[in-house]
């Protein structure tokens, strides 16, 4: 269990004592390392504690020692899970720690009398020597106990992988991960003790930090990909292959591209892509957040520029597909230029609709008081049956509602509009004069057969500026029309 955290810190319980002793001296020179040792001490389980106890028994008897720190240490150990055994252990532990009250002198003696090499001994010495250990133990006990449950294998290269996997466990908050991985004490200890595991640990810790960065941002858009790509052209490949692979994995999954080959860990994609292009027909781009690793298709240019362009093009076509889903009636349109035209028209019509509706609200609200709560309740209780496909016909019908204060227009209006917006027609004529963008409405409306020529002319003559005298005159005309219309509400 928490064994593993201790092992992770670089102290294999079965390691030879000398090895441990040398590392101990290093630790003593690092107060923060001492902390970690101390905290790891808090986490060791029952079985380990038993071994510890036996080691304590075998150690030479004590001189004076700091009883308070020891008792604190007992309590901490007890809190981890050995509560039933701590009182029993107290005597031998006292004896043991007492002999370590002079930690600087004892390290070589520590390990020799021990039947089993106990990493704990030295850390016990550290415990007693450290006045503030209780606080640090408290701080880290939760850390150790939380993160390292259920690991029973010995520390080694395999464990490093486990540790990496464990550290990227979503249970552990991401805030903790960088702290672990970037702690200089751990790294230093790993460097001294881990030996061969040193580099892998560091690499993995780098991986972890990148993984922990990537995990909270699943939805990150690739807007930085261009900058990062330029940057990665210069970085050295040594620490980055691991990191890039990890980021690439995350980015690839995020971007819904699933192929991640082991061979394309290079930022310089052209060299790799040559051999790939010859042999493979796989998909070309694998965009990720940091690196864009592109594999050239068979028979295609492998120049880095063309690869980058291809990536851009594919991203853009992906966006266009998304937009196609948003804009109604775009499924039949093929070709980017036409699609863009449709999108532009749609955005324009939406903006005009907003203006039209605000105009309507301005006129409607002259009469009614506003009750926010009732309106909100009404909003929540009205299920939204209006689909987006209706917006286009609504646009036309709204425009014709503007101008359609003639009776003959009502039947076409009635047929066009699928929701209950026809009650608006009573107030529309007054609004039309003021709307400065009405000319654009007219452009769209002129396509529709329901539009009356006479209305167009009158509106054109009105001028769409903000000339107040004109507005007054026109309003007097329109209010007469309004009186005619008010009796003609069409309801669905």
């Amino acid at each position: 269990m928490e064994n593993q955290f201790f092992l992770d810190a670089g102290i294999p319980p079965q390691a030879p004592p000398l090895h441990f002793g040398s590392s101990l001296s290093d630790w003593q020179s690092l107060p923060s390392a001492m902390e970690m040792e101390i905290q790891s001490q808090d986490c060791f389980p029952t079985g380990y504690g038993l071994r510890y106890e036996s080691a304590m028994v075998s150690s030479p008897p004590a001189s004076n020692c700091n009883m308070s720190s020891e008792s604190l240490m007992m309590r901490k150990l007890g809190s981890i899970g050995n509560s039933g055994e701590i009182p029993h252990h107290s005597q031998p532990m006292l004896a043991a720690s007492s002999c370590y009250s002079t930690p600087m002198n004892s390290p070589p003696q520590l390990n020799l009398p021990l039947p089993r090499p106990m990493a704990l001994d030295s850390s016990v010495a550290d415990f007693s020597a450290d006045p503030g250990f209780a606080e640090r133990a408290a701080k880290f006990s939760c850390f150790g106990s939380r993160s390292f449950n259920g690991r029973t294998t010995q520390f080694g290269p395999k464990d490093s992988v486990e540790i990496a996997a464990y550290r990227s466990n979503p249970l552990a908050p991401n805030a903790k991960l960088p702290r672990v991985s970037s702690s200089p004490a751990i790294k230093q200890r790993v460097a001294q003790v881990g030996g061969t595991n040193n580099r892998s640990e560091l690499a993995i810790s780098q991986e972890e930090s990148t993984v922990s960065e990537q995990n909270p941002e699943p939805g990150f858009k690739g807007s930085n990909s261009r900058k990062r790509k330029a940057r990665t052209m210069e970085t050295s490949p040594s620490p980055s292959p691991n990191a890039s692979k990890v980021t690439e994995t995350n980015g690839a999954s995020n971007e819904k591209r699933c192929k991640l080959s082991e061979s394309n860990a290079n930022e310089n994609g052209s060299g790799k892509s040559e051999e790939d292009a010859k042999g493979s027909n796989t998909r070309a781009p694998e965009p990720s957040q940091d690196y864009v690793h592109v594999r050239a298709r068979r028979g295609q240019a492998t120049d880095s520029h063309s690869l980058a362009e291809r990536v851009r093009r594919e991203k853009i076509s992906e966006r266009m597909k998304l937009l196609q889903n948003l804009v109604p009636g775009c499924n039949k349109v093929t070709g980017k230029a036409l699609m863009l035209d449709e999108i532009i028209n749609y955005v324009q019509s939406l903006q005009r609709q907003v203006e039209f509706l605000s105009m309507k609200l301005a006129s409607v609200n002259t009469r009614l008081d506003f009750n926010v709560e009732s309106l909100m309740s009404k909003d929540t209780f009205q299920s939204n049956t209006q689909q987006q496909q209706q917006i286009f016909p609504i646009n036309s019908s709204a425009a014709s509602a503007f101008l359609g204060h003639q009776s003959q227009q009502n039947p076409p209006l009635h047929s066009n509009i699928a929701n209950g917006t026809m009650t608006q027609c009573s107030v529309d004529p007054s609004d039309t004069v003021i709307c400065p963008k009405l000319n654009q409405f007219l452009e769209t409306v002129s396509q529709y057969p329901t539009f009356c020529e006479g209305d167009l002319e009158t509106l054109v003559q009105m001028g769409f500026g903000q000339n107040q005298s004109q507005e007054m005159a026109l309003h007097s005309q329109n209010f007469q029309g309004l009186n005619q219309v008010s009796g003609m509400k069409v309801e669905l």
Partner: protein, 165 residues
């Protein structure tokens, strides 16, 4: 509808955020109106302008600064010439101008600019803040802008329906 089942509305959805803000600002605008000249065209026009600004502002605030277009729209609204609260806008303008300058560093790249030259420019004019974006981001912003516009239209339509006799 025969059966009445209240739909569960997500209280933090874009629609509800926009609706609350817009209704609040609408009630403020209505509270200010002088009853005497309420139906004069100039008054209606002024209220139209105010409501339109309120709608745009509510939408931009509902999106906060997560999107370039909302930031650009908020900046535009704050630096309007008729904006009375000049003191407050000065600090905000500085911040958003900085953002705008950051945006201006990205430029259109060659190939797709050639393909979509005219339409892309039109789209840039339509989408607030689109002048300084490359095509990919522009399309991204357009998609979100369309989504927000449709929400805005739907909510405003419902309000108008509710209050029209």
């Amino acid at each position: 509808m025969n059966k009445y089942n209240p739909p569960r509305m997500n209280p933090s959805s874009l629609r509800s955020r926009f609706a609350t803000r817009f209704l609040r600002s609408l009630s403020k605008i209505n509270a200010k109106k002088p009853t005497a000249s309420s139906s004069s065209p100039t008054e209606i026009f002024r209220r139209y302008r105010r409501i339109k600004v309120a709608a745009d502002k509510s939408m931009a605030y509902s999106v906060r600064s997560r999107r370039t277009w909302s930031r650009a729209m908020l900046w535009k609204l704050r630096t309007r010439p008729c904006c009375r609260r000049s003191v407050k806008t000065s600090t905000i303008v500085r911040k958003t101008r900085h953002e705008k300058q950051n945006k201006n560093t990205t430029t259109t790249t060659g190939e797709d600019g050639v393909v979509f030259g005219v339409e892309a420019d039109e789209l840039r004019e339509l989408v607030p803040g689109g002048e300084a974006m490359d095509l990919y981001n522009l399309l991204d912003e357009t998609a979100h802008y369309i989504k927000c516009l449709t929400t805005q239209v739907q909510v405003m339509k419902k309000i108008a329906d509710f209050y029209s006799p």
